[in-house]
């Protein structure tokens, strides 16, 4: 892959944070903390890694992306809108009755979503099955799967982690598969360390036979370099443990379990957007702020 244009990707991620907050505010529910922690990873994937054509979302040669931590789908919806799968303004229909933007990813509601996730612990198994299926079909696409840290407390993840390095299709191992853990250290009830500490996490993935990398999940250059390494890995799948901050980008959300699953009120969203987009508000952010301000109850 070409060297990443970090400023360009960072600008997309910044816009992503604003749109995530916009979406959640309109919806009145959803998961800001984990959407904000994962957006840099998803931006790098959608805009400097995944091969896809928004006009042909079911094309056989597309790379596959499974958001196993499905509750953070607002981040994915932004990336899909920005990429052209659907108009950006459809983002405000998140979670509304009849919207293709379901609260958790729905494969049949929205072309471009590869699997229904949201019931944590299942996405990696599907991703491994896809990687195997692609090997059996003799096709080149790669498979990427993003998991949450709380999510990997689910046993099914480890069933699949155990088998993936042993599976092969047509004699080809599943080195076409990359798992990324969004390690933001917080789950719903509290800090991961307090609920069920995952450490030593890298050791676990290594012990299960995965090539294992650890990065700063907000450093786009590091994310991209790790993906390069993963793509070059031969013989086994790769797990990238991305250290992130839950609620990244919003001072009053960062590292706070309260913001796992609570949507901001319009005034809170406006405050957050001003932090992210800067003061004075750039042209692309001003309309969003105006729109959310209008939502505020008098």
């Amino acid at each position: 892959m070409a060297r990443p244009d970090v400023p360009r990707l960072a600008a997309i991620a910044r816009e992503g944070r604003v749109q995530i907050l916009r979406m959640l505010t309109h919806a009145g529910s959803g998961h800001p903390g984990g959407s904000l922690s994962v957006i840099d990873i998803l931006t790098t994937l959608y805009f400097n890694r995944l091969r896809y054509d928004p006009a042909r979302p079911l094309d056989e040669d597309r790379d596959r992306f499974v958001l196993s931590k499905g509750h953070c789908v607002p981040a994915q919806y932004f990336c899909m809108a920005k990429a052209g799968f659907f108009p950006m303004d459809r983002l405000v229909t998140l979670r509304k009755l009849g919207s293709p933007l379901q609260g958790h990813p729905d494969r049949t509601a929205l072309p471009g979503i590869e699997a229904a996730t949201g019931s944590l612990g299942q996405g990696l198994s599907i991703a491994v099955g896809m990687a195997l299926g692609l090997r059996l079909a003799g096709r080149a696409p790669r498979v990427y799967c993003v998991l949450g840290d709380g999510e990997i407390q689910e046993g099914q993840v480890w069933e699949t982690a155990m088998s993936a390095p042993h599976l092969a299709g047509n004699g080809q191992p599943l080195d076409n598969l990359v798992a990324i853990v969004d390690y933001n250290g917080i789950q719903l009830d509290s800090f991961v360390k307090k609920v069920l500490d995952l450490e030593p996490l890298a050791d676990k993935w290594k012990a299960f036979g995965w090539a294992t990398l650890e990065i700063d999940g907000h450093d786009i250059a590091q994310i991209d370099k790790a993906l390069d390494q993963a793509d070059a890995e031969k013989g086994r799948p790769t797990c990238i443990i991305a250290h992130t901050v839950k609620g990244k980008g919003v001072s009053f959300m960062e590292n706070d379990p309260e913001w796992h699953g609570k949507a901001p009120k319009p005034a809170e969203a406006v405050r957050a957007i001003r932090e992210i987009a800067g003061d004075p508000l750039p042209d692309w952010a001003a309309p969003v702020v105006a729109e959310l301000t209008a939502l505020e109850k008098p």
Binding site: E60, R64, D106, R107, T108, E114, A115, A116, T117, G118, S119, G121, Q122, L124, S125, I126, A127, V128, G129, M130, A131, L132, G133, L134, L136, A137, R139, G155, Q156, E159, T160, M162, S163, L167, G169, N170, G171
Partner: protein, 309 residues
């Protein structure tokens, strides 16, 4: 007449045959390939049979991924272990609409000595609650092989419920399995007995015994539990006015539950549901069937008591 054969064995044979012509077909097992009888397929096509070890949730998810990338995967285990991972079936298969062919073997108390923990007794009840998973329980070898062939073509997920034990032939070579169609095996006018899988033979035996008492029982093979052949069931209920269901499954939520739901809304008819009412247990299969009222004698007794009500 052909020999008795377990529907799991018929399934294994059918896969080898179908697998020759359709390279999309693959199998996934959780260390029960020798029991689900996919071993034949694995031997014939070693690159297309996968064993994830004793990890049924992962197995089901893997099958979903395979289905979404162009394979026709048969995900196999004992019915209780497979459907026990209901959440993965619910989201990764059903809601995702991944066309996984789910195969649950070792159904009912008929598995015998292994006892309750290995018996599929609640699988129909669980899967009926999902909107898009047909449930097929073939009654013999001929029907089983056709059901497997149908499953390959079915444009979505599907569940096949198969026995450990050998089943006597019920159909002949002219039979054609169709989803949603339940043939009348034996016409009658006094009572309708709806059976499925291992209990079809019991229903036919009971019908013969009842005939000696002057009771003409009509017997249907309800191999398509979901979707039910509503037309056939309403027709037989309307004809006899008395419906008995018999299944090697818990008495709640299975075949009996499905039929009761239909009749209660469309044609309220006195019903008797015969099935397992407690946990299963270890024992010889014949003894277990007798104890739980699932053999010919038990069904005949229950029908007589029901008619005397």
């Amino acid at each position: 007449m052909a020999a008795a054969k377990a529907t799991r064995a018929a399934f294994g044979e059918a896969l080898v045959d179908l697998g020759k012509r359709d390279e999309r077909i693959v199998t996934v097992d959780a260390d029960l390939s020798k029991s689900t009888m996919t071993v034949g397929f694995a031997k014939a096509y070693p690159g297309r049979a996968f064993n994830v070890g004793i990890a049924e949730s992962g197995m089901i998810g893997l099958a979903a991924g395979l289905a979404l990338t162009g394979r026709v995967p048969f995900a196999c285990s004992f019915a209780c272990f497979l459907v026990g991972r209901f959440e993965t079936i619910r989201v990764s298969v059903a809601y995702t609409q991944a066309p996984v062919k789910l195969v649950g073997t070792h159904v009912g108390v008929a598995i015998g000595e292994d006892g309750y923990s290995q018996m599929g007794l609640e699988d129909i009840a669980c899967l009926r609650a999902l909107p898009n998973i047909p449930i097929v329980q073939p009654a013999d070898e001929i029907e089983a092989k056709q059901a497997v062939a149908y499953a390959v073509e079915h444009p979505g997920p599907i569940y096949l419920r198969l026995t450990r034990q050998a089943l006597e032939p019920v159909h002949d070579e002219s039979y054609r399995f169709r989803l949603g169609v339940s043939p009348v095996l034996r016409p009658g006018r006094d009572v309708s007995i709806l059976a499925s899988g291992g209990t079809v033979a019991s229903a036919l035996q009971a019908a013969r015994a009842l005939e000696a008492q002057g009771v003409q029982a009509e017997v249907l093979n309800v191999s398509s539990i979901k979707p039910l052949d509503e037309e056939a069931i309403l027709r037989t209920a309307g004809k006899t006015g008395r419906v008995v269901t018999v299944e090697d499954h818990h008495v709640h939520g299975g075949l009996g539950g499905a039929v009761a739901e239909l009749l209660a809304e469309a044609l309220p008819t006195p019903m008797k549901r015969i099935g397992v009412t407690t946990f299963g247990e270890s024992g010889d299969p014949k003894g277990l069937y007798a104890k739980h009222g699932l053999d010919g004698d038990g069904v005949a007794r229950a029908v007589t008591a029901f008619l005397d009500r």
